[in-house]
Structures are given as structure tokens and as C-alpha cells.
Amino acid sequence: MTAVAKPQDDRKTGRKTGGPAGVAGGAAGGISPALLARLAPETPVKDAAALRALLVARGFCAGDAPAISLELYGGLRLRTGCEVLPLKAGTVGAALEALRRIFPAAERLLPADGELGEYYRFSINGKTVTTDLGQPLAEGDRLILFSASVGG
């Protein structure tokens, strides 16, 4: 994975951010500067691997789980300022739990686990769609969290 921290100003220009995530397999994207400032105000976090390690060190995710990336869109991206969150998570549910803990502000947009599947879906690597929080994840998986309201 090549996720890197992306300056806020780049997103404001609307410039493209890396490859066609999900098809070409190379998701790059911005990580919330606010999150970086909160987690590591003294130490610059240079890349996704460093942020992932920091999140493990701070207890947001388990160190022995597969390294994955969680892609956020819509309200969740706007609320968190984060496009791609590098995590360690063995299941979809573990990734979701990490998201909730890292971004308490996202909690307001996310229903309880039992209702989540009614309003949100997960896609693994842009292919499999699931609402099963127990779905296992593998090293390098891209997990996409998206609204079930897809019409329009």
C-alpha cells in the first residue's frame, strides 16, 4: 500500500489523488492533518505505515492483525478529514471499531452495529460487498465504507 499523508491544501484544489482506487489497486489519499496533529504533534508522520504503527502504539488497533486501509467517503470523510485510514484489523468489525475510537466525531454518522448494515455497506478491494462485521480481512486489503443509499 502506498497511502501517504496528503496536505489539506491539495484536497482543496480538487486535484486527482493517485490511482483509480479499487481497480488499479493503488489507493493513495489524504490523512486528516487534524488527526496527525492530535496523535503526533511533535513527530511528523511521513507515510501510511508510520501512521498505522502510531495507531497501534496508541492502542487504537491490534498490532498482530493484518495491515489494511479503510477508505472513507461522503459525510464520514468530511467529518473526519480523512480519505484513507491505514489500520491493522483482522475483521471488518475491528476496522469499524478502530474508526469509531479514532474519530469520535464519526460516531454521530454511524448507527449501532446491529443497524449498521441497514444504512452502510463495506466493500473489500472494490469487489465483495458485505454487511458482515465478522468478515475476515487479509494483509493489504482495501476496505471501503459507503452509504447504502446509492441512488440519485
Binding site: 489539506q8 484536497r11 482543496k12 484544489t13 480538487g14 486535484r15 486527482k16 489523488t17 493517485g18 490511482g19 483509480p20 482506487a21 479499487g22 481497480v23 488499479a24 489507493a27 477508505e71 467517503y73 461522503g74 459525510g75 470523510r77 468530511l78 480519505e83 454518522l109 454511524l110 448507527p111 443497524e115 448494515g117 441497514e118 444504512y119 452502510y120 455497506r121 463495506f122 466493500s123 472494490g126 469487489k127 460487498v129 458485505t130 454487511t131 458482515d132 471501503i144 459507503f146 452509504s147 447504502a148 443509499s149 446509492v150 441512488g151 440519485g152
Partner: protein, 607 residues
């Protein structure tokens, strides 16, 4: 005085534009109950008013506006009306919707539906209110855009008129011209051309004569419940980013049509993202009348003006044409609004024409993929039918018929209606839904993307097990379109049939049951099918372009050598045929897909 009829007026208005004569007629109560209102009532009325076989732009072609039981009740998202005609683009049913004040004033004018026939001698405006009907010649409005027309009518005759009107594309009978009210459109399949053929520049309605409600207290409770549910997680996407929130997610999942459907994603998609625009402070919000969701997001242009920002506009005028500059795409969208052109058909036909040029099948100097200046130049040409605009104004199917040389294989349409922003090979249940759609490729009538993205089916394959659920979604759409509610509240409702029946009971006093409403959805779908059969429907129409099938071969299929980055596998044609057969079976139609109406239906359409 209590008329004994609640929630609806129980009558229609017929206007002959050739003579200016008008008359009202009662709607049989059994019909009003069975087909509810909106699309259901409208398609029944269209069948009743129309000759068995006719040309979409002939004077005798009916144009029906059908209002809805729930309109005027303040139930969230209920300010919608239906517009029905035969489509000049498809030759099949066009059951369109339009939102906001027109739906309220139209019902408030005192009728459940308005059926127009004939044609005006001169460009005219039809005024309808509870006091009567007046057809006025308004040649001075010809050549104005729809917003200019609306403003002019309000300035001259009063701000209490709500107006639907056509722009220059409608005047020129471009077969994908829109009909516009307050910046919103009955957009697809050419209602604007039908109005243009009647030389009717505008229809203005006003009035507050809403029928009484049978149980106001019960309706108030339901209204409050819907209000609360409408602000929950089921509408979060629409409230936050609007429909454009689809774009980046679709891109990440290979669903975003790009480059005339040659791929389902592109690395430049971020340039068209809602998220980026919100972060950059380039978005304002707006709502329809009687709506608390506010899905409407408006792009703030460099000059401070705003343009409505919808996923379908951005896909059709952006990714489909390899244009990734939001300023250009929004400028093009504003031009389509100004001239009164459906954005999906405009972008779809341009994308097809460009591929024809690239393949050496068509000479149209200036048409180039990824060229924003070309796009901005093309839209007025299409509306005015100037230069190559005359070719694009045909729509992709008719253009492919003219170009020949196998180009129909990659013309992006179903029944002549250009395919919306969902790659059919990446959402194969929806692909089938588009293929069998009575309006052609209409994502508002199928909704099978809900199934494809439910996690319960493999969206890259088709099988027969999911077809019952797909049929169920079509029937639900028919009921929502007849009540009428916006489909964006569908996830805020518990059970559509239970909730809908409860709303209708409170409103009309008629003891609707959930099962009755479910059956109504099925019957309404049959009406649509029958309309198409009367107009010459053939089984061969219920398909997708060859491009989307696995064996597309040299004509640019997704699996072809040279298909670019983001290309996806095609649909298995055998699985598609089996699934379609299952669909016909579950609909109760013949193996060839034909519906046989019973005598009761046939009798309801005469007399």
C-alpha cells in the same frame, strides 16, 4: 360542504390546445383506488386518452400531468407530480416526475390530473386555476430559456403562478428536451419536445383548493414520524453531500461509467468529487418545497452564481466524456439547464459520437474526448440543431442507425434512452433492470442497484435467484411514484406498503391494506408494459448494447484487448437471457415477455 371524497379531487381536466376547449370528468373511484395517483393514475389516463398507436409529436399525442394524493399534506418530500407522454426519443412510455411548487399549485388548482391534446396555432401559455382555464398566445416568450419564461410569466401575471416551461431545445423538439420548473426538470426522454410540438411554451397553475383530509390527526402523527425518520441515517448521504456523493465511491468500485462506458473508473475522478468541493467551500444547499432532506447541492461558480450539482449531471458531462474539470462540467450543466436538455442523453450521445469519430465512422470536426471547450460549444448547437448538433440531437440510437457499421453495439442506450451513471457490467442486476425497463434505461424505476450493493448477491454475475427481489423493487418504485414520495426517503420508511397504506387511510379514509398497495404496484407496472405493447414493443428491445456482454469482441467491449485501465468483465449473455426469462415469468407475462390484459382493464379504458 363535505363531498365525501378525501385526499383527492376525484376529477380530471382535459384541455384541447387546438381549440382551447376544456372539460372536467370524474375519475371512477375504483380506478383512483387501484392506481393511487401520480404515475399510476397518469399512465392509466394516458392509455385512456391516447390512440392505440400514434406518433409521439403528433397533435393528437396526449401530455398528462398527474398529481398525487400525498401532495399538499406536508408529508416530507411529497411535493411531486408526474408527467406522462409517449417519448419521442424511445417511442415508448415516458413517465417522468417533477418536484416542488408546481406539484402543490397543480393539485391546488382543483384537479387530480390534466390531460392536454392538440396543438396551439401560435406559441402559447396555458393558465389553470380554480376559476378556470385560459389559453393565451405568448409568442414573445419563444426563444427564452425556461427560467426566463418562468420569471416573465410571474412578472406579468403574478407571482402566485407556478410554471412549467420549455427552453430552446423543447421549441426545436430535440427528443431529449426537458420540461422545467424552478430549476428542476422532468428531464428524461423528451417531455419538453412533446410540449414543443404542441407549441405550448408554458403551463401555469395556481390555487390552494386542497381536498379535505379524512383523519387529520392521524396524518399529523404520520407526518411527524416521517419527519423524524427523514433526519436519520437513512438519508444521511443525501443530506450531507447530495447525490454527487456517489461519484468517488462508484469510482473506487468500478461502477463509474467513463469514456463512453469503456471503463468503470479513472484516476482523475477526484477532480469531480463532492467531498473535495465541500472542503473547498464551493457548495451551497437548497430544497424542494415540503422537503426536509435538502439533497440539492449547488456548485458556486467563479462568478458567484450557482449551478445544481447532481451525480448524473457530473457523470454524463464529466467522466463519460473524459472531462475532469468541475468548472467545465458545471458550466456545461448550466447550459443544459438553460437550453432545456437532458444531461444524461446529452453526455451519452456526445460520448457515443466521439467514439464514432475516433473509430473513423463519423466525420464531425471538433468532437473530441476530454475537450471541455468542445462540450461548451456543443450544447447550444444541440439545442439549436446547428452543425453537428443536428446529429447529436438525434440521440444515440437514432445516430447509430444513421452511422451504421456496427456502431449500435456501443451506442449507450436501452430502447433509445441513454444509460445513466451505473456501469451495467459492474451492477448486473441493475443492468437487467435497465434492459427490461418500460421507459428504457431509467435508474429511477428499477432501483436494482440496491440489490447489487446489498452484499447478498454477486454484482458481477446474474442468476435467477435474485429476480423476485428485483421485481419487488420495481413494484415499490411504482408505488412510491404514485403516492408520491421522493425515493430518497425509502430507507427512512419502515415497510413501504404498511407505511404507505397507513398514509392513504389517514388521507382518504379508504381502508387500504399493505397487500392492496403491493398489488397496485404490480398492476401499475402492467399498465406501463401494455402502453409499450400498444406502441409496438418487441422482445428484442429488452436488452443492453452488445458492449456490455462478455463476447462483445471488436466493438469495444469491456474485455477487449485495448480496453483501458478500469475496464471490467462483461455480462454472460446466457445468464442474462435466463434471468430475463425468469423476470417475464415472475411478472406473469408470456415467455416472450408479453402481457395480456384482462377484460376489466380493457373496459376501464373506454367510455
Amino acid at each position: 360542504m363535505d363531498s365525501g371524497i378525501y385526499g383527492v379531487h376525484g376529477k380530471i381536466l382535459r384541455v384541447n390546445l387546438s381549440t382551447g376547449d376544456s372539460q372536467t370528468a370524474p375519475i371512477p373511484q375504483a380506478i383512483a383506488r387501484r392506481y393511487i395517483g401520480g404515475i399510476g393514475l397518469g399512465v392509466w389516463l394516458l392509455l385512456r386518452e391516447a390512440p392505440e398507436r400514434y406518433e409521439a409529436l403528433a397533435p393528437e399525442a396526449p401530455l398528462v400531468f398527474a398529481f398525487a394524493p400525498l401532495a399538499g399534506t406536508s408529508l416530507n418530500t411529497s411535493a411531486k407530480a408526474a408527467v406522462l407522454s409517449k417519448s419521442p426519443l424511445t417511442g415508448r412510455l415516458n413517465d417522468a416526475m417533477i418536484s416542488s411548487g408546481f406539484a402543490l399549485s397543480g393539485k391546488g388548482a382543483g384537479h387530480d390530473a390534466i390531460a392536454l391534446s392538440g396543438a396551439c396555432r401560435e406559441w402559447s401559455t396555458l393558465f389553470i386555476d380554480p376559476e378556470g382555464v385560459e389559453l393565451r398566445e405568448t409568442p414573445e416568450l419563444a426563444g427564452l430559456s425556461a427560467p426566463e419564461t418562468e420569471a416573465s410569466i410571474k412578472e406579468r401575471w403574478g407571482d402566485d403562478w407556478d410554471v412549467v416551461s420549455i427552453g430552446i431545445a423543447g421549441e426545436n423538439q430535440v427528443p431529449f428536451a426537458t420540461l422545467t420548473h424552478d430549476g428542476r426538470h422532468a428531464g428524461r426522454a423528451g417531455t419538453g419536445a412533446v410540449m414543443g410540438a404542441k407549441r405550448l411554451k408554458a403551463l401555469a397553475v395556481r390555487g390552494r383548493e386542497m381536498p379535505p383530509v379524512a383523519d387529520p390527526e392521524a396524518l399529523k402523527v404520520l407526518r411527524d414520524q416521517l419527519k423524524t425518520a427523514s433526519l436519520g441515517p437513512g438519508t444521511e448521504k443525501y443530506r450531507t453531500t447530495g447525490t454527487l456523493g456517489n461519484l468517488l465511491v462508484f469510482n473506487s468500485m468500478g461502477i463509474l461509467p467513463t469514456d463512453n462506458f469503456r471503463a468503470g473508473s479513472d484516476g482523475r475522478a477526484e477532480g469531480l468529487s463532492a467531498e473535495g468541493l465541500f472542503e473547498a467551500g464551493r457548495v451551497t444547499r437548497a430544497t424542494c418545497a415540503d422537503c426536509m432532506i435538502g439533497c440539492e447541492k449547488r456548485f458556486v461558480n467563479s462568478d458567484g452564481s450557482t449551478t445544481r450539482m447532481e451525480y448524473e449531471n457530473v457523470f454524463a458531462l464529466g467522466s463519460l466524456l473524459n472531462i475532469w474539470d468541475m468548472e467545465i462540467v458545471m458550466a456545461a450543466s448550466a447550459l443544459c439547464d438553460k437550453f432545456g436538455l437532458d444531461t444524461i442523453s446529452t453526455g451519452g450521445t456526445l460520448a457515443f459520437a466521439i467514439e464514432c469519430v475516433e473509430r473513423g465512422l463519423l466525420e464531425a470536426p471538433g468532437l473530441r474526448s476530454g475537450d471541455g471547450a468542445m462540450l461548451l460549444e456543443a450544447i447550444p448547437k444541440i439545442a439549436r440543431r446547428e452543425g453537428y448538433g443536428e446529429l447529436i440531437a438525434l440521440g444515440s440510437r437514432a445516430l447509430a442507425e444513421r452511422v451504421g457499421q456496427g456502431s449500435m453495439d456501443f451506442a449507450p442506450h436501452v430502447k433509445g434512452l441513454e444509460i445513466p451513471g451505473y456501469h451495467p457490467a459492474a451492477l448486473q442486476t441493475l443492468g437487467l433492470g435497465l434492459a427490461v425497463g418500460t421507459r428504457g434505461a431509467d435508474h429511477n424505476k428499477s432501483g436494482a442497484y440496491d440489490l447489487d450493493l446489498s452484499g447478498e448477491v454477486d454484482r458481477f454475475q446474474l442468476d435467477e435467484t435474485r429476480i423476485a427481489a428485483m421485481v419487488g423493487l420495481e413494484d415499490q418504485a411504482a408505488v412510491i411514484d404514485s403516492l408520491i414520495l421522493c425515493k430518497f426517503v425509502r430507507r427512512a420508511l419502515g415497510d413501504l406498503y404498511e407505511d404507505g397504506a397507513e398514509m392513504l387511510r389517514a388521507l382518504t379514509g379508504i381502508p387500504y391494506s399493505p397487500a392492496e398497495l403491493q398489488e397496485a404496484g404490480r398492476e401499475i407496472h402492467h399498465l406501463k408494459k401494455w402502453f409499450n405493447q400498444r406502441q409496438g414493443w418487441l422482445e428484442t428491445e429488452d436488452t443492453l448494447p452488445a458492449r456490455f456482454f462478455a463476447a462483445a469482441g471488436a466493438n469495444g467491449g469491456a474485455t477487449d484487448e485495448g480496453a483501458g485501465e478500469g475496464a471490467i468483465e462483461g455480462i454472460d449473455p446466457t445468464a442474462f437471457a435466463k434471468a430475463r426469462g425468469r423476470y417475464y415469468h415472475l411478472r406473469g407475462w408470456s415467455p416472450e415477455g408479453r402481457f395480456e390484459p384482462g377484460p376489466e382493464l380493457a373496459e376501464s379504458l373506454v367510455g
